[in-house]
Symmetry: C2
Subunit: 344 residues, 2 copies
Amino acid sequence: MKRLVALLFFFLTANNSLAETPVKELQKTAKSLFGIIPAKEKLPDKTTLEQIELGRKLFFDYRLSKDGSTACVRCHQPQFYSTDRLPQSMGFNNNKGARNAQSILNLKHQTIVHWRFDRTSLEEQALKAFTTPLSLGNSSVEESLARLRGAGYTSLFTRAFPKSSNALSLENAAVALGQYQRSLTTRAPFDRFLEGDTKAISLDAQKGLRTFIDVGCVSCHNGPAVGGRSLQKFGVFQNYWNLTQAPNPDKGRFEVTQKEEDLYVFKVPSLRNISETAPYFHDASTSDLRTAIRWMGKLQLNKDLSDEQVQLIKTFLESLKGELPKNYREAPELTSESYAGPNL
Amino acid sequence: MKRLVALLFFFLTANNSLAETPVKELQKTAKSLFGIIPAKEKLPDKTTLEQIELGRKLFFDYRLSKDGSTACVRCHQPQFYSTDRLPQSMGFNNNKGARNAQSILNLKHQTIVHWRFDRTSLEEQALKAFTTPLSLGNSSVEESLARLRGAGYTSLFTRAFPKSSNALSLENAAVALGQYQRSLTTRAPFDRFLEGDTKAISLDAQKGLRTFIDVGCVSCHNGPAVGGRSLQKFGVFQNYWNLTQAPNPDKGRFEVTQKEEDLYVFKVPSLRNISETAPYFHDASTSDLRTAIRWMGKLQLNKDLSDEQVQLIKTFLESLKGELPKNYREAPELTSESYAGPNL
């Protein structure tokens, strides 16, 4: 809310562009529009730590899928900044998901889950992954629970949920996965810039930041995750498929609500680490960041960005590439049980 | 050869069991039969290090498969000690491999590649994975090369193979993957025991080791990898399917050579980390280590091992669980190109 006020205030009072603003002023403005991912987060308590570690194990565990062929990590791979670089990700039985998988990094600073906001929370998302045949292939709660037990998780759940009378449950698995995902943030040079270090990002990146704010990208891509907190029609000024050439345009949130106002409405994605997470957009219609920036200018702001503007914004976006959390790329130690679920 | 002589000498001169032998004597005998994985390996030269790191990247890179759905690491997962815990692994298009995938750890100390020894070296294995449709889905050299180029590997190959006039080749990719795999060894408490530390493994593990040698397991499972250096008929004293209940017994190496003597002949697998790599045998016919030990006694040695013997051998085998190589569980940094190969 505070940031929304800052945003409104900024747009109502800004008569001139930021192009000539002193850097200290730019930092102050940017800080109010975005927000810092701090160097040190508050250390979670012991139980939360246990839940994070349990969530991490579940995230990497292929034994929880019907045929042992998939796991959360298959679409959100650590070597690819939590994406799989594919237009559409594959779940159980190589089922193709309908949209491009988004990174799970920095979800702590986002409120919208999935492209169409068809999940209200990370926990609901995780819970449904366990029981939606498309994802892990399991078709009932009992089947998912049998896999968790078969893979030796009972004592780990008891430790992570000491107050639960029935610790091993899908609800607790979802809590653990939510805690794990929220623990993953990537502090970037941009954050040091916001904290006052004027040399943390290059002069070109600073120019790109000025442009990003001036042309209006910031009206949607704001907050610490530089997006991820609102829904927006993809193609405000013209149909998006004019540019993306999508053969069967995805109707977006309309399919969830059946409301006219939600036609072609999607999540505004976070731009943190965007240089590492091609292809772009819900339909992966381009893998080129410059093209993505140009399309956004045209579709959302009705602006023909110059090559120089596009390049500067790209340079700014590259300053959002962050440091991966400690151990993020490291697979966890799992129990030694082999695959033991039903219906193998 | 030296170890073969030691083995022969041991069996020819051993009149008594090792049950009552002093521990120092046991260590000496075991050292000659197995071999130590040292605490510090000789540091590879700069070029070899570049090749290892390149191999590591290739190993984790899903972009090298036809549909982006698979990579070496999918069957050899770091969270599962380089296995996937499945009876049969899946490659491109979820094609099931014919046999259980073996760990790539400690291949440096093994000479036999694949269950049927149908590959003469790690390099040949890697080369064929690139062009065998069943594995990564690519059906030609050109297709695999296009994927490597598309994923931005050109400069990495040039750096790792400075003397090659045409650095980016499948042959060099195979060399890099071979180097990477040979760099992965897991030193275990057993190695410290062999070095003279009598407390490195429990008294029960020592009894298990004595039993392992006395009953004859060591005649096949020897060398530093405790196996992996010879082929053997699975079911010397009776058909293996009597015990495993295999519905369609795999003919093993016979399918490769068409020689009668190779009927039901398979690689003697390494037992390093065996407690972490269920299910067992080429057909994954059991996930229970005790059962596997009992079957081996019956099939290969015509011995009905007692429950106590089985338990002691199991305890010994657990002492072969080693420390994973530094960074082994960590996914590497890959280039930021999205999937860009042909035939997506």
